[in-house]
């Protein structure tokens, strides 16, 4: 039986692999595969952990205080918890040289989605207008993935921008602040929908509200940010564990895939990977599926073409969602108590049609509960004791909107191979389009108006435009197209530059709507596996 080699164990790779395995295909997965530690005291709530751990500072701030947010760290309101350090552990030499882009890489088992916030937002027909298929072509795979991973949510006003698919579990219990925001939306719905172009509803998140396949429903322990010990919050390593139960699945970790080899007719024959000790290993295959993430897969492709022909190619069209973080205070929640035993990530989703630009912008509202408070307290405009006193009074009233902007493929944003370093690295160039500053300002103004109508206040100086690359929604360097051009793929992710080469990750997305793309990555990888293999 022909063995399919998949590179990468992230959201795309594991769903591609599982779909092939369920069809009886043999799959080998290559992965660097760094893994983290076991969760301590899995039955404790977050408060219980603080009370019972022998060294809570070590757990919450890290042995080297890596999660301590000291002055001079601009903009970011969260630090990654130390328990997730492995997700961003470097695999040796620097992977990239970037200009105008701040990329994040992961070599962890499960990839970057090991630290995602679970947002599952399907693309609708408008979002898919540049894809070679529409909602009807993708809906069955959204349903399949939702049934596998468990997605909670419900039918509400967001249905017109987040179409309904099968496999949804009932929504999680809303925390008090999220419930208050939804109640304010209901009271002001007419004006919000009409004049302000705003829709709101429950978030759709990959978190179990009911038990599923041996995983337990969310117990509201408040530990989400530090890793869910019950696996209620889905991460790709859960699907990888399922793949590993198949006898025809082979998982080769400790391998960094560097390039593939082709024969004289341009057909893939092998993939070459490096071990940590610098030794290389060659794995023969006729079918290679790259799912190493857009930047990782692009680098493997560029390196392979360079070794095969001496050509240094540029791949235009790199995309990412620009993100803005907008903290706000809900005046109705001032002075109220807050409950740490709740789900910690976003529970409310919103979409705002910005009048001036005509763009539909997607926002996710996270209400602040158990996140470490010192990164925020230090930004308040008082001395630290005064800031702490003020913060305690407004803690229950604090929230943050994560605003996502769409992106389009533009030739001037590209990746290429930097051969001046050994080993070679990816060179990344990104410049926002000239209209971006105006669009950001218009969007910020529109969201502030919406917040005011909801009874909230967003202090202007605290709104933070994140650097390009921070959202980690990279896509677009080898797009699916029906044109048949080189440096593109078929609708099944098959490369037009090398026979037997497929892309199952965001590399192939022809456009990027203002939504988290992870759910669509999983659905698209499943579609490719089921329809092309």
């Amino acid at each position: 039986m022909e063995r399919i080699v998949v590179v990468g164990s992230g959201a795309s790779g594991v769903h591609f692999a599982l779909s092939c395995l369920l069809k009886g295909r043999a799959v080998t997965m290559l992965d660097v595969g760094f893994s983290g530690q076991e969760f301590p005291r899995p039955d404790d709530s977050l408060v219980g952990l603080k009370r019972n751990l022998p060294d809570p500072v070590d757990y919450f701030l890290g042995p080297q205080y890596g999660s301590l947010a000291l002055p001079g760290r601009h903009g970011e309101y969260y630090a990654f918890p130390p328990g997730k350090d492995h997700v961003f552990r470097s695999a040796g030499a620097p992977q990239f040289r970037a200009d105008g882009f701040s990329p994040l890489y992961s070599f962890a088992t499960g990839g970057l989605a090991e630290v995602w916030t679970g947002g599952c937002y399907p693309f609708d027909d408008r979002d898919l207008s540049e894809f070679p298929f529409g909602w009807d072509g993708l809906e069955p795979y959204y349903t399949r993935v939702a049934e596998r991973i468990g997605v909670s949510g419900c039918e509400d006003d967001m249905k017109s921008v987040l179409p309904l698919h099968g496999g949804l579990q009932p929504p999680l219990d809303a925390d008090d602040h999220s419930a208050e925001l939804l109640a304010a939306y209901a009271r002001n719905r007419e004006r919000l929908n009409g004049q302000l172009g705003c829709l709101m509803g429950r978030a759709r998140v990959a978190v179990l509200s009911r038990d599923l396949d041996g995983r337990k429903a969310c117990s509201y322990s408040g530990r989400c940010l530090w890793g869910c010990p019950r696996q209620s919050l889905y991460t790709p390593s859960i699907t990888l564990a399922r793949c590993r139960a198949f006898p025809n699945f082979q998982y080769l970790s400790g391998l960094y895939a560097d390039h593939f080899r082709m024969d004289g007719s341009g057909k893939v024959r092998a993939v070459v990977a490096r071990r940590a000790d610098g030794q290389t290993e060659e794995i023969a295959t006729d079918t290679l599926v790259l799912a190493a993430g857009t930047l990782g897969s692009s680098k493997i492709f560029l390196e392979s073409i360079y070794r095969d022909s001496g050509q240094i190619l540029s791949l235009g069209g790199l995309m990412d969602n620009r993100q803005i973080l907008m903290p706000f205070v809900n005046l109705r929640m001032l002075g109220r108590k807050w409950n740490p035993n709740t789900y910690q990530y976003h529970q409310v989703a919103m979409a705002v049609r910005v009048k001036e630009s005509g763009e539909l912008i997607h926002g996710l509202i996270t209400t602040l509960k158990t996140a470490l408070i010192h990164p925020l307290v230090q930004t308040l405009p008082f001395d630290l004791a005064g800031s702490l006193s003020a913060f305690r009074s407004v803690h229950a009233a604090l929230g943050m909107i994560n605003i996502n902007f769409p992106d389009r493929r533009r030739a001037e944003n590209y990746v290429t191979l930097d051969t001046s370093a050994t080993p070679h690295r990816l060179a990344i160039y990104y410049r926002p389009d000239a209209t971006e500053p105006a669009r950001l300002a218009q969007t910020i103004a529109a969201f502030r108006k919406v917040l005011r109508k909801l009874g909230c206040f967003a202090p202007k100086p605290m709104t933070h435009v994140r650097p390009m690359g921070a959202s980690v929604h990279y896509a677009g360097t080898l797009p699916m197209s029906e044109s048949g051009d080189a440096r593109s793929c078929t609708k099944y992710g098959a490369s037009r530059d090398a026979q037997g080469l497929y892309f199952a990750d965001g590399t192939t997305f022809p456009s990027l709507p203002a939504k988290n793309l992870t759910f669509t990555l999983m659905a698209n990888a499943t579609r490719i596996a089921e329809e092309a293999f």
Binding site: K50, V57, L68, L70, G335, P340, F382, D383, L384, R392
Partner: protein, 147 residues
């Protein structure tokens, strides 16, 4: 070494009292020392920074004056770094995290009054801090640049 440890313990005690109204536990002091041992470069101070830390460690009143001054004039100073470190330690460990999580009573009115009080205290302390520390800063700058 002993003197340095003693100074750090004093800083931790004063800053914890300033932020939480209570002395730190031995565990918290141990972590404060551990941070300085592991990441000493983050708290490497110039003469004026060292002066501010020394003054702030005297008692909570001086801490407030120096903290208010640095909030405006030296937001990335070593004193701010040390105060934020203590805040982070307090929020992670018992029993201080429970005090920090507790919502003060009084509802919306209480919140507004507390915010007004925090603003007034901050403005007063920042003015007093500026009156005290600005001349010291200029004096130090002139003295050390002359020598």
């Amino acid at each position: 070494m002993w003197r340095q440890t003693n100074q750090l313990e004093r800083e931790c005690s004063t800053f914890a009292t300033y932020l939480s109204g209570r002395l730190p536990t031995p565990y918290l002091i141990e972590k404060y020392l551990d941070f300085h041992q592991k990441l000493g470069e983050k708290t490497a101070a110039d003469r004026f920074d060292a002066f501010l830390v020394g003054v702030a460690a005297r008692n909570a009143v001086w801490t407030r004056l120096a903290d208010s001054y640095t909030r405006i004039f030296r937001p990335s100073s070593v004193l701010r770094t040390k105060l934020i470190l203590v805040l982070a330690l307090l929020e992670c460990a018992p029993p201080s995290f429970e005090a920090l999580d507790r919502v003060p009573g009084g509802g919306i009115l209480g919140t507004v009054l507390r915010l007004a009080g925090a603003s007034a205290r901050f403005v007063a302390a920042a003015l007093a801090g500026a009156a005290i520390f600005t001349p010291v800063r200029f004096w130090m700058a002139r003295r050390w640049s002359a020598s």
